[in-house]
Symmetry: C2
Subunit: 457 residues, 2 copies
Amino acid sequence: MDVVRSRRRRLFQALQKLGADFPVALWSGRAPAKNFPANRHYFRANSHFLYFAGLGIENAVIVMDAGSDRTTLFWDEPGPDDALWHGPEPSRDQVAAAVGADDARALGDVYKFIDGGASIYLPDPGARLAQEAVLGRSLSTSPEPEGIDGVLAQAIVEVRLRHDEFAIAEIKKAIAVSIQTHKLGIQSTKNSQLESHVCAKMEEVIYGNQCGTAYNSIVTIAGEVLHNNCYHNPLGRDDLLLADVGAETALGWASDITRTWPVSGKFSPTQKALYDVVLDAHDQGIAAVKPGADYREIHLLVSCVLAGGLVDLGILKGNPESLVDSDAHALFFPHGVGHLMGLDVHDMEDLGDVSGYGPGRVRSDRFGLGFLRLSRILEPNMVVTIEPGFYQVPAILNNSEWRDRYSEMVNWDRLADFSDVRGIRIEDDVLVTETGNEVLTADLPADTDSIEGLMLR
Amino acid sequence: MDVVRSRRRRLFQALQKLGADFPVALWSGRAPAKNFPANRHYFRANSHFLYFAGLGIENAVIVMDAGSDRTTLFWDEPGPDDALWHGPEPSRDQVAAAVGADDARALGDVYKFIDGGASIYLPDPGARLAQEAVLGRSLSTSPEPEGIDGVLAQAIVEVRLRHDEFAIAEIKKAIAVSIQTHKLGIQSTKNSQLESHVCAKMEEVIYGNQCGTAYNSIVTIAGEVLHNNCYHNPLGRDDLLLADVGAETALGWASDITRTWPVSGKFSPTQKALYDVVLDAHDQGIAAVKPGADYREIHLLVSCVLAGGLVDLGILKGNPESLVDSDAHALFFPHGVGHLMGLDVHDMEDLGDVSGYGPGRVRSDRFGLGFLRLSRILEPNMVVTIEPGFYQVPAILNNSEWRDRYSEMVNWDRLADFSDVRGIRIEDDVLVTETGNEVLTADLPADTDSIEGLMLR
């Protein structure tokens, strides 16, 4: 409770700095229905609400008033029938106490308390409608909040960018579960025939620990499909299995880990060669994480290490820096090196680049930079992922325009020697400290020897 | 493809019988976003779309025209960037072929083809808005479709009430996975400390078999909370564990099974006594399922068997029929004996009582009947659940109004002897055949000896 009060105080200060004195209303959201109202997806509260209220209760609003330094909870107790179906629920006063609210009122009264107030819209269009009705105005549908909502977004980013101790402890909890998850995934591969078998084993660890998945798990032999959420492929002995799986705690704090391992238990020489290039990029990227470092430069550094490794293997030709300048690395590493992590796996991505991009920075339209989600000077208590990869994406490599553009820089014949690698990614979560960084996921090894060792168990 | 064509033909005939000749548009829906657009709940297509299109593709519409006997698919192929993130997708023509559509067009063109057409609204308010924009009119927000949409709902119910062979085969697939799931849940209890451990083990079977959960799993020692979706309780040696868990196939066909077992591996004498009452009601309910039987009467029969059993145990006092007439059974069995099952676990519940209640029938406001979801004359190829239970719900048993009303009918002192029973439910899925019924879930035993035997393994 002290935690959320201190967060709210910091929000008020951030708003004040921006010259803003409007009240702020945050909605928790509702579980969306699947086929009919009684059959719902599980409830995941909006992250801004979770951050400033500290608990995820459905269909609630908090109004925070910087002027009076007061927070009011708006929430209706479920009807008497509800106890039969969903068990006893806390009272409004109990919820208000848990939230550290100064006052508690009926949900229907919100509109009386947010005259001229700002909000962040929920991603669900139906929920946004309800917000608009209460606020008495339209919310922007552009990717980034505008007007007073844009000012609020800036203030929220200012507060949420650097994590407090409570948040870091929660992230560590999520990571501990994810490490167990990955170890079991690696170990259970030898007894699995399908991607779905490994994925289900991994998620069992997450659910058994009363966590949720921070994002839809990726467990696939088709690692070149970056957000692959199908699990139907059989595991072939020559395949690499890429698993990008992370738990989130009951309070919504995320973790985000990727490992790639050989189904057979043994990397082939070509797999090991490419894996070690990615690992080197990963290690050098992590080493560069520290206060004052520019995350965009870390992305370029990692790209350069990758390009250099591919030159050494004879896949790329030329000087690593020039290859990166011409985006040749992006043929094989088309995404960014990572992102902020916190209550969202891509923290505050709902605010567009207000969160990921520092003042005055805009997304590049370069092939090798356009997917970079984070471009900021790093500060203590930020948590970022470092996740380089190597992929052979048919949609990229068979694109005749790109083949022409990079014809001099790629040795396609040599590349063909590495056909047993579809996708490799190695991803860890890194806390920026006062003096450097702490790899929060360090207990899960990433080198090929350790991974092969885990598979023997 | 022949299956969906035949379903559409039956829909056209049903519409014709109702004197309707409007075109019908069905939307598949979209996966709802969690915190930001790139982080979504998994996609579950709308059941009516799934039924008549035969596959669950996101953001598609089919328009079925009874007059011309033609079906048109409206769907946009993902952009080129999409292949990087989500892998290669089928072309519009490939999807149209899979759906057996006569024509395929851009999603934006739907509005040109459904002038005066009817639809069923999606449960998501944002999705409904999009439907309204395309249809050029408002869709009813009452629980049941109205106007031409109400006529369409009637026709859909007429077609979907009785399952075709393909559907029954899919339901059997889902049930086979659910039976494995429950067996593992029963067996893994001895090595589990928390509800979440058993739940995660059970869901691992579902996900490993590339199925989804047909509804949010209930795995709880607090069986008296009917739709309990929390899993944090420790398993006590004296507890009964109630698991209501069902798989749905990749095409969305459901199963729905409940078993209740003792954490210790052995029912106590009081647990066994009450369990056998519920089992007797369950068996007699199933025996009554046949063509021509009135499902409402089965509910009352089951209630009567329960009441009789409770009289025998000294918990209720009086004549079973009169006890049921006065709803005394509902103190301990407050829900209905079951529901339709198909593509939805409560099949077509999005259509309100148009699906569950036969012509001229309306919900009772009686305590013991108001939650009955199905009141129809049974016909061959319907699938229903039979799921009696016994619960000690504090919100009911401590309600002073009810305690007064039923003071003469309940022996509260005797009830106190059964304090180690919070909730028992036994649920099976039953296909109505030409001559009687087939218990589709028969391979999962329900008697106490068999359950104790499974726990020994």
